[in-house]
């Protein structure tokens, strides 16, 4: 077939026209995946932030807010909100920095360090979020106990029935709160595992592959 012969001739002739990548370029092509994973970590952290902020606007929290303002908790409440926003923005900045850094990294060794750093930042972020949540739940319980009129009535009621009862009451409250905190935290831990854990796993795999490359450099 004439056409095929023509094609074959041209094909053989064009061999020299292809790009010739250096070893370094090939390294960085293989390691580029990390940068897309880290980019996703950054994007997801922003989406997560938007989600929580949106939820807090849509949820009907007027009653709670009134309660907070009516009592001495307003100061603690607003301080915590401001601090938590600052910390979240710091984390978002760190995620962004990690992404920028990884995107421009060329050297395998440096890239490996950056991957480790990203993993560390994400872990700190998750730990921070979970501790913050535990703290908020704890404060909520304390606030409810010390300010709600119903609880006050209940407390005096129990107290009048004997010294021991109040001790048992607090014991039950403590146990129930601990269980509640544990359940809520594990739910969130599962949530974080799903969105960040899987990305971190891929990063780790990438890291291991890079380690092999680094050994041959």
């Amino acid at each position: 077939m004439d056409e095929l012969d023509l094609l074959k001739k041209d094909w053989d002739k064009s061999t020299k026209k292809y790009p010739n990548l250096s070893k370094e370029e090939i390294y960085s092509i293989i390691s580029k995946r990390s940068s897309s994973i880290v980019k996703w970590i950054f994007i997801i952290s922003i989406l997560e932030f938007i989600l929580w902020t949106a939820l807090s606007f849509f949820g009907d929290s007027t009653e709670v807010l009134e309660k907070i303002q009516a009592n001495d908790f307003a100061f603690i409440y607003y301080t915590m909100i401001i601090i938590s926003y600052i910390i979240i923005f710091v984390f978002m900045y760190l995620f962004y920095k990690n992404y920028r850094n990884i995107a421009v990294t060329e050297n395998t060794k440096v890239l490996m360090e950056k991957i480790l750093k990203t993993r560390k930042t994400v872990k700190q972020y998750v730990i921070y979020n979970l501790s913050m949540m535990a703290l908020v739940i704890l404060l909520g319980i304390i606030m409810e106990l010390s300010t709600s009129p119903e609880t006050q009535i209940l407390l005096t009621d129990i107290e009048s029935k004997g010294e021991n009862n109040i001790f048992i009451f607090y014991l039950i409250i403590t146990i129930v709160s601990l269980i509640a905190i544990a359940v809520i935290l594990s739910l969130f831990l599962g949530f974080y595992y799903l969105i960040y854990g899987l990305l971190l796993k891929r990063l780790k795999k990438n890291y291991k592959e890079l380690k092999i490359i680094a050994n041959l450099e």
Partner: protein, 164 residues
């Protein structure tokens, strides 16, 4: 060729990168897609490298993994390849690579090849690489007879297209 397990992957890929570029040329239409596919194939090769035992030549193995990657990707209904833009990798493809040639007839032939389905592209690619039917069937995992039949059909298809 003595292979010290994983330690010379990059070296080998660097040396034989032409194979990957050529696969990209057959399967993609523009520079951007070429780079994406090149990256994807490189990553797949790297992932599969621990399984490469050295009982075939590295280049032979590259043909197989590279073509399988291209075929699998394009089988997913031409879904765009997910990958990072690799601008930081400063290689440039000259425009003529996709212009192929000024020769009008050759241009038409290349266009006709681009219209073939994913497996047929693989067959014609291996044919252009001067592989015999045994090698073609081994690389693509089809029988030798099937390879011959398909090659004949490709010739007919190209003829019809070019004479249309």
């Amino acid at each position: 060729m003595k292979l010290d397990s994983e330690h010379n992957f990059v070296e080998l890929l660097q040396k034989h990168q032409n194979i990957v570029h050529k696969i990209c040329r057959i399967y993609t239409d523009n520079e951007h897609a070429h780079k994406d596919l090149f990256q994807e194939i490189s990553i797949q090769l790297w992932k599969a490298f621990p399984k490469f035992r050295g009982d075939s030549k590295f280049s032979t193995w590259m043909y197989r993994v590279g073509l399988n990657t291209a075929i699998t990707l394009y089988r997913k209904s031409l879904r765009t390849i997910k990958s990072q833009p690799i601008e930081s990798v400063g290689y440039k493809l000259s425009h003529e690579d996709y212009d192929n040639t000024k020769d009008e007839q050759l241009k038409l032939i290349y266009e006709a090849v681009k219209k073939l389905n994913d497996i047929d592209k693989g067959i014609i690619f291996l044919f252009l690489e001067s592989k015999n039917y045994k090698e073609i069937s081994d690389t693509l995992g089809i029988s030798e007879v099937n390879a011959r039949v398909r090659m004949n059909r490709i010739k007919t298809k190209l003829k019809i297209q070019l004479n249309a």
